[in-house]
Amino acid sequence: MIKSKSSIVTQIILNTIIVILCCLIIYPFLLVVGASFTDEEALINIGYKIIPAKASLKAYEYVFKNPAAILNAYKVTFIFSVLRMVFSVLLQAMIAYPLTKKFLKGRTGLSFYLYFTMLFSGGMVPSYILTTQYLHLDDTIWVYIIPCLVSPWNIFMMRTFFAGIPNAIIESAYIDGANEFRIFFTMILPLSKPILAYIALTTFLGAWNDWYTSMLYINKDSLISLQYLLQRIMKNLEVLQNATAMGEDVSMLMNAAEIPGETVRMAMAVVVAGPALVVFPFFQKYFVRGITVGSVKG
């Protein structure tokens, strides 16, 4: 098909719009990376720039001089993210599969049982009391994993996908004498890779970016998540700035040399967010595909 001249012009205009948009999206990333490589004094005097006015590796030297806290947060976050991902995909699939069986008594009831939790919830306070006073999960790694394993939304996405698997395959397995466990583990799960991958990835991402659980339930420094560590570094400096503003003696509170400056904080942001940003785009097609399969009426 020969393109008309006007369509080429339109294409150029449309592409330019999107390219500008992409630049706006990327800009804050570059700003933080640029700042992390800037000399602290230059940053304060000249301001945040993508290209450092005066380059310096001091911020990274500071971050890596004492990496124990960061490494530990990475370790904790990685462990609970993987565990949450594995168990939540498995458990959600285990309840989604029975929901596809028309002969199952109580199927509608079970669906409603799950659906109702999407409409109404007890709220944060009862959950908090349950977790801390009765289950005693606070200050353990399990608080990152157990309370959030099953999400009705994911279950309904899985159910929709499972229901789309041709019935003939499952019927033939019945005739061959396979039981439900066997069908579930050897047929349904392998045939549902796209949706499982999508839910696994979103769950992992959610866990990886979790700071809220730490803020609510964790007091031990050895169990805080990566994002919460980053949040705390932001907070520490704030406490100090407030103290200065009120005319208190800062040196009394903390040795000035230990204060994480602005460049150090930006370097921390790069260290915390960087690796995930390098890895996640490789899985992007699963995200996009998952949204496409998932966007079916539940």
Binding site: Q11, N15, C22, I25, I26, P28, L31, V32, A35, G47, Y48, L91, M94, I95, Y97, P98, F103, L110, Y113, L114, T117, L119, F120, S121, G122, G123, M124, V125, P126, S127, I129, L130, Q133, I146, V150, Y174, G177, N179, E180, F181, W208, N209, D210, W211, Y212, Q227, Y228, L230, M234, M266, A269, V272, A273, L277, Q284, F287, V288, I291, S295, K297
Partner: protein, 317 residues
Amino acid sequence: MEAIFLAKSNAVMPRKKRKISVNTIQLYALAAIPAALVFLFCYVPMFGIIISFKNYRFDTGIFNSAWVGLDNLKVFLASDDFARIAWNTIYMNLVFMVVGTICAVLLAVVLFEITSRKAVKTYQTILITPNFLSWVVVGYMGYAILSPTSGVANNIIQMFGGKPIQWYSEPKYWPWILTIATEWKGVGMSSVVYYASLMGIDASLFEAAKIDGANRIQVAWHITIPQLIPVVIVLSILSIGGIFRGDFGLFYQMSRNVPDLYETTDVMDTYIFRVMRIFGDFSLSSAAGLMQSVVGFVTVVVTNAIVKFIDPDKSLF
């Protein structure tokens, strides 16, 4: 157990009735653990709502704390905070809904119009990237732009001879900042849904329009956008259900939880959190949470009923 063995022994052509009963047991067994977890972490807290009607104290526990009836709810509704946070929550959600939908639909339509699929893939990769960040990291980026002394925004203002703005103590700018931050982070991902439904449009519709002599704008207006309406409706119902729920991360991390900004950045979720964690008033916090849940429940049921009345195919349940 016996039933399972029997089913196995005559597996070749099992009698219909027995096979179903064994399968049913197995299916229930599969569903048991997840269903129990839902009960524990979703239904048990619902009973905890009684805290809202009590004066909860740690030492006496839920059951022995004194009943106070609707006092907590009354205190919450009568406080100055209520009008402010209710307004902030609903107003910001409506803005996000309208702006978010328009931006995502426009972006999807523009991407759809671009003929080079390879370019679209690259653009999408870039546009989706912010979605992978936590609000903590986005808060850092916000700080790099809004920092009063060395932030980019003030540098640009000063470059044009303006006066620097104290972003973190001026609430009036924050509805804008929060909207931009939300869109920056989410527009790429939400446009994917619309883009996917555009890809599913029957190509013959476009050919027919072309034959009828429709121009590009007409095609977009009469074919492309109408195809998106069912998706827009479903997503809108879902977000209306959450109209009394704020994205805690956005409001807490972007504003860095600065009290000076509460006038525009304090929403239900940040309030509930603050009342519980900072003030330690579990009952008041719980009453606010209960109200949030009830309003959410009512809005989603009512919206769905209205949609069902107008067009049953488009309703959610």
